[in-house]
């Protein structure tokens, strides 16, 4: 029992020694000579117990040595070999986690910083193709927004509609902008939630930034809860889904894939085609981020790249005011029809009113017409007053203004107008002056101008005295007798005993020619035949025969001289007549006229 315990103790010691130093136990003999014999015994025991393991260890050691020697002989891995596996290795690691990105981030940042420091141009050139269009797009969008905003500002600032909206904003306590938006929006997708179906966790959220929304995480969780609640409460089918929630002007449209929910909060009435857009976007995200969705454990950062797809769905459409108001109902149609009728009637009324007032104004301006009363009705008009028979005809005047004479009652009392124009008109009507005679009237005096026969003038004076308003008749008529007298008073003087004119007789000869022409013309207009005779005179100092001869010659010379002055007189018959000695006028000649009425 004691030896056994001793042996046991020894074994334990061996094992203890083995723990503390493997190498000494397996590979090398103990160096202490004192205990050599004891160790031999242990060696036997060791061989007995661990011979198999020892041989295995030896084999493994040999193998390791071989491999080590092979490894030493191998050339180091070339850059080519590394480059072959590097992309694959990076890709593989990226799939596992983002440690590689984290590790390389400082290096990349340093590299960029160093690159910019050394030559900023390189980075600028590299970024230009991307930044250039982006800046242009941003500017264009900003301008377009500004123009649209300006247009809307002008429209909404000055229209009656804007006043109504401002009033509404004041009453409801909303901002004017909010009221404008609500009134003009046909629909607007205000928010989109991309939700993991099973967990109800929000994967991505975009908003049109209208007002302050609720916490998106909580909204998406609640949406999921509501869906579950509705399904559990009202449907036995697990496939039944809540597609739409509606609250007043707001509605939530829900689209779904196997793992995701796409919830869009819409204000207004969106077209159903928008659902297709949502579904397409959802499918796009599902395809693009299949791995992330399948392995979703609550990490949402990786879904950031789906954000642009969702933002594209934040669509809106401004309402056309006319469209939104223009529902054709029988009432609207009736109102519009009556309005149109009233409009047309109004136009006709205005045209008629304008014509009638113009007509009456014209009548009032007419000489010889006194308008005493007018009346204008929808269907008939009437006018009455005083009218001089010589005044303008009111019925004819109606046509000038396109007024219907059949629908106009006219009543005119005749009267004698004292208007000078009417008096003159009346005189012209009653006297009927010949072609070359004209009448003028002023201050009660009727003046007869022109060449009229004495008979007509005498008759005219008689009639005119009876015309109301004419106090006196004067004539400006040229008397043929006067002309005759004037002609016959002109004498041309000759040198005695000669047929030569005395000095300065040319003027008298010229006067005789003019007088003769006038007399001839007047006689012609008055239809009077006239004969001219050139009469020569002598002084009586010589014999009668001589005096007769010389007086005839003087008559002939005067006739000739007169004819030669004017072409009109060239062929005028002037009979020469020698009167012989006449004491009264002496050596002279003159032209006498004989009228044959």
């Amino acid at each position: 029992m004691k030896s056994k315990s001793l042996q046991q103790e020894k074994v334990e010691r061996i094992l203890e020694s083995e723990k503390t130093s493997d190498s000494s136990f397996i590979g090398e003999a103990p160096k202490n000579n004192v205990e050599t014999a004891e160790f031999d015994e242990f060696g036997s025991l060791r061989l007995l117990l661990l011979s198999q393991e020892q041989s295995k260890i030896s084999q493994l050691e040999a193998k390791v040595k071989t491999l080590q020697s092979q490894l030493d002989t191998l050339p180091p891995a070339t850059s080519k070999e590394v480059s072959d596996v590097l992309p694959k290795a990076i890709k593989h690691r990226n799939k596992i986690d983002n440690q590689l990105s984290k590790a390389t981030l400082p290096i990349v940042v340093d590299n960029i910083r160093q690159s910019v420091k050394e030559n900023p141009q390189i980075l600028a050139e590299a970024l230009f193709p991307a930044i250039g269009p982006a800046i242009r797009k941003a500017i264009a969008e900003a301008l377009a927004t500004m123009v649209q905003s300006l247009n809307q500002t002008i429209e909404y600032s000055f229209s009656p509609r804007s006043i109504k909206w401002r009033l509404e904003a004041f009453q409801t306590g909303k901002s004017f902008a909010e009221v404008v938006l609500i009134k003009t929006l046909l629909y607007r997708v205000e928010e989109i939630f991309l939700i993991h179906k099973e967990t109800g966790l929000l994967i991505q959220h975009v908003s049109a930034n209208i007002g302050k929304g609720q916490d998106a995480d909580m909204v998406s969780a609640m949406l999921t809860a509501i869906q579950d609640f509705v399904r559990d409460s009202f449907s036995n089918s697990a496939d039944a889904n809540l597609d739409t929630l509606t609250l007043g002007e707001l509605s939530v449209w829900i689209e779904r894939s196997q793992d995701l929910l796409f919830a869009a909060v819409i204000r207004g009435n969106a077209p159903l085609s928008l659902r297709e857009k949502f579904q397409t976007s959802l499918e796009e995200i599902v395809i693009d981020q299949e791995d992330e969705i399948n392995n979703f454990q609550g990490e949402v950062d990786s879904f950031e790249r789906s954000r642009p797809v969702l933002q594209e769905c934040l669509q809106y459409q401004l309402g056309n005011e006319n469209q939104s108001r223009g529902k054709v109902t029988p009432f609207n149609f009736g109102v519009a029809f009556i309005g149109l009728l009233l409009c047309v009637a109004g136009i006709f009324w205005f045209i008629d009113y304008w014509r009638w007032t113009s007509y009456v104004a014209d009548l009032k301006n007419q000489k010889g017409i006194v308008v005493t009363e007018t009346e204008r009705g929808w269907f008939y008009h009437s006018v009455q007053g005083l009218r001089d028979p010589t005044a303008a005809d009111p019925i004819n005047l109606l046509k000038t203004y396109s007024l219907n004479s059949e629908k106009t009652f006219s009543r005119w009392e005749e009267y004698q107008s004292s208007n000078p124009e009417i008096i003159l008109k009346r005189a012209n009507f009653l006297l009927n002056p010949p072609k070359d005679v004209s009448l003028t009237f002023a201050d009660g005096i009727l003046l007869i101008n022109g060449n009229a026969t004495k008979q007509w003038v005498d008759n005219a004076k008689l009639v005119a005295a009876a015309i109301v308003g004419i106090k006196e008749v004067r004539t400006n008529n040229v008397s043929i007798n006067d002309l005759k007298e004037k002609l016959e008073a002109l004498n041309v003087f000759f040198v005695c005993k000669s047929v030569d004119y005395e000095k300065d007789q040319n003027q008298t000869i010229s006067d005789i020619a003019n007088q003769l022409t006038e007399l001839k013309n007047v006689a012609k207009t008055q239809n009077i035949n006239i004969r001219f005779e050139s009469q020569g005179n002598a002084d009586g100092k010589g014999s009668t025969d001589t005096n007769n001869k010389i007086s005839l010659k003087r008559a002939e010379k005067l006739a000739e001289s007169v004819r030669s002055i004017s072409p009109d007189l060239k062929d005028l018959e002037i009979k020469p007549n020698g009167l012989g000695a006449t004491e009264k006028v002496g050596c002279s000649a003159s032209i006498e006229a004989t009228l044959e009425q």
Partner: protein, 171 residues
């Protein structure tokens, strides 16, 4: 950023909502408001350098007439079984709920969903009905038990951090 769904489960009136209010808003109200359906809250915490957003689904408490809707539990990363220390029957109820979850969700996911048992209302020392032996029995089953008080805030934040660690498998 990691988001996780956590459910608050337990019998009616055990203090689920109060625990959430204490954790999220650091407030406590003695008035009892029954939760109908579900209330959702959110809290962001940092555990072992990892930012985690906890979506807290505070479900309506179970009683004789109302049973928890399994659909609300779907997708939960972890849950609390809240027990009212002053009512022994709520412990029994917690057992039942755990069993139900095991059946409903555990078998589907193929793995056990982490949970922590909260013995709430620890401030009511004189009325405690759950013995140390019973607590020991739980611990022997491998369940983690934390004694909390929504009123005093005792171990409330620690409980949420503890569950989050379990979810993230951080020891």
């Amino acid at each position: 950023m990691i988001n996780k769904k956590i459910c608050m489960l337990g019998a009616s009136g055990v203090g689920k909502t109060s625990l959430v209010q204490r954790f999220v808003r650091s407030i406590y109200s003695g008035k009892y408001h029954m939760t109908i359906g579900v209330k959702i809250d959110k809290k962001q915490i940092s555990v072992a350098g990892e930012d985690v957003t906890l979506m807290l689904w505070d479900l309506q408490g179970e009683d004789e007439e109302f049973k928890i809707r399994p659909s609300f539990l779907r997708g939960a990363s972890g849950y609390f079984l809240v027990v009212d220390s002053t009512r022994h029957e709520t412990l029994v109820n917690a057992f039942a709920i755990q069993k139900m979850i095991e059946i409903e969700l555990g078998t589907k996911t193929g793995s056990e969903i982490p949970f922590v048992v909260l013995l709430n209302k620890s401030d009511l020392i004189d009325n405690i009905q759950i013995s140390a032996v019973e607590v020991q029995e739980f611990e022997n089953k491998g369940w983690q038990i934390i004694i909390t008080s929504a009123k005093t805030g005792e171990m409330v934040e620690e409980s949420f951090i503890e569950l989050t660690k379990k979810i993230l498998k951080i020891s």
